[in-house]
Subunit: 321 residues, 2 copies
């Protein structure tokens, strides 16, 4: 397969977004958006750093990379619209495998009617996938980390630690309960787009997606809002068979594991009922896990566990976002 | 320098675009644009493939990469507004050098009041820079390759072959006339934004930027518009001291050299005067180099040279755009 056939094979035959004027096929793509705010973000994934072929098929590499990007849009309360995908292809990757990366992205993109409107294909020594996503929010309804307030309820969607547990299963052969569930959570995460979109009803909610672990995401909100967030350890939601893993790993994964692509947020007590209703309507499990306080000269995240309150720190990595 | 200091060092302290609502610092950036169409494109540059440290300082790597992206916007008739920059950093690149890549981008970005609104910083084995640019055009004034028509005048801005000549000087030590000029054209190309923006006056102009060589860009317009484009070899504009290089190289570079980031376009004879006026007003050298014909069942580019007409082919590479 040469480069022309490759590009033909990944090019969309038709587009779903009505705001698109020109997709792939010129020097750049063109769209128009007069009624909503535009949200954009980029993430880059490198083989051996962000994924390994031993635990991810090419299809899953693409699927998960786009899911991670869509999750950033969800964390802003935005609905996905477009993506641009740049890929560095080493000789060791046959083009047929590379098309599977695009098939994985397309599978998820189709679900959200996202259009692939640009990209670049270059050779290099290391498979690198860089995805830029563009989405829309209602005007002034983008969700920031900096709006958390004293008295807020802190919540998370779904269950935490599952992706890391799936990775553990893939890298530590053995007998596990609900193996396919954990593996799917690792390879094909579901960003919480519908729920985030539903939150449009509210005037204020602080939101972050859990890409680098609950401790990290909560810390980002606490620091941006200059508040403390206290999380009750026994309230952190985990899945049914999560208890099969050693306790120290359970603790580590649910707080620092990351890549679950659930949402963490805070909202006023008064609006907690509305948030729960939106979660119910969008089929999103949601759990109240703690509370927000303004404490003099202090910001950060604290964990209440076995009657003790201890500060927990950001152990994730950082991006320019 | 750790990653936090690095990100702090490249983060803009203030933003220049009035359409920007939220820059770096959350899950994604947010902007609003109700009055213009939005244009976006991505390009990826890999060390050893797109640039070598022997011919490019880190500063130039960044400057030229952003220039190439801005040139794509110019080719759409768009004004640059934002960029997102993802970088894969190998251990062999000290962080101080990497900040120079960003300094190079910032130098050019400042000139256009472009804001850096996102990015990602990851480690890997090979320096890879992926830039997404976002710009604006007046509504329905994006410039496509597909609108070239029978009887059009074909033109190019500036002079061709200079970038490739600069690269030749850098890789073949010797004595050359106007060395700094050619080297600057290679390391710090100037995209033709003002001229492209000036063309907004016109209802129709086909436009492409010369990133992969005149032959390639003209072919793209000819194929997209289903026309033939004939170029007069002796009209292709070259710079004053270009004649110092061997004739076969002169021929090769001006047609296939690429990376001059000039513009190639076609416009009706009636509007050629207006295009010349816009070029004059924006300080842009412009040259009429050929003409467009509709010929039955034929599309492609022909070169008139020494009384002979020969077909020339696309020898560039291709991107998903």
């Amino acid at each position: 397969m040469d480069e022309f056939s490759f590009i033909d094979s990944i090019k969309q035959q038709s587009y779903g977004q009505t705001s698109l004027i020109k997709g792939v096929g010129d020097d750049a793509a063109v769209f128009r958006q007069s009624n909503q705010d535009i949200v954009t973000s980029v993430d880059t994934f490198v083989e051996g750093i962000h994924f390994a072929r031993s635990t991810m098929s090419a299809f899953h590499v693409g699927y998960r990379a786009l899911a991670a990007n869509i999750s950033d849009l969800a964390a802003m309360g935005a609905t996905p619209a477009f993506y641009l995908a740049s890929i560095v292809i080493p000789k060791s990757w046959p083009m047929e495998e590379v098309t599977q990366i695009f098939a994985g992205m397309q599978e998820l993109a189709r679900y959200y009617t996202m259009d692939l409107i640009g990209g670049d294909t270059v050779s290099g020594s290391e498979l690198t996938l860089s995805i830029t996503v563009i989405g829309y929010t209602d005007k002034n309804k983008a969700r920031y980390r900096s709006v958390s307030e004293d008295g807020d309820v802190a919540f998370v969607t779904g269950t935490l630690g599952d992706s890391r547990a799936g990775y553990h299963i893939l890298t530590n052969p053995g007998t596990y309960t609900n193996e396919p569930y954990f593996i799917k959570r690792h390879q094909m995460p579901s960003p919480r787009v519908d729920f985030a979109k539903g939150l449009n009803l509210l005037s204020r909610v602080a939101l972050n997606d859990i890409s680098d672990g609950l401790a990290n995401e909560a810390t980002e909100i606490a620091e941006a809002s200059n508040v403390t967030i206290t999380i009750e350890d026994n309230l952190i939601p985990t899945s049914l068979s999560y208890g099969q893993f050693p306790e120290n790993l359970q603790h580590k994964w649910k707080l620092y594991g990351g890549e679950d692509f659930e949402l963490f947020g805070t909202v006023s007590k008064r609006n907690w009922k509305t948030v729960s209703d939106i979660a119910y309507q969008t089929g999103t499990p949601i759990t109240r896990v703690g509370f927000v306080r303004v404490e003099e000269d202090k910001s950060g995240v604290f964990l209440n566990k076995n009657g003790k309150r201890e500060r927990i720190f950001n152990k994730g990595y950082t991006h320019l976002k």
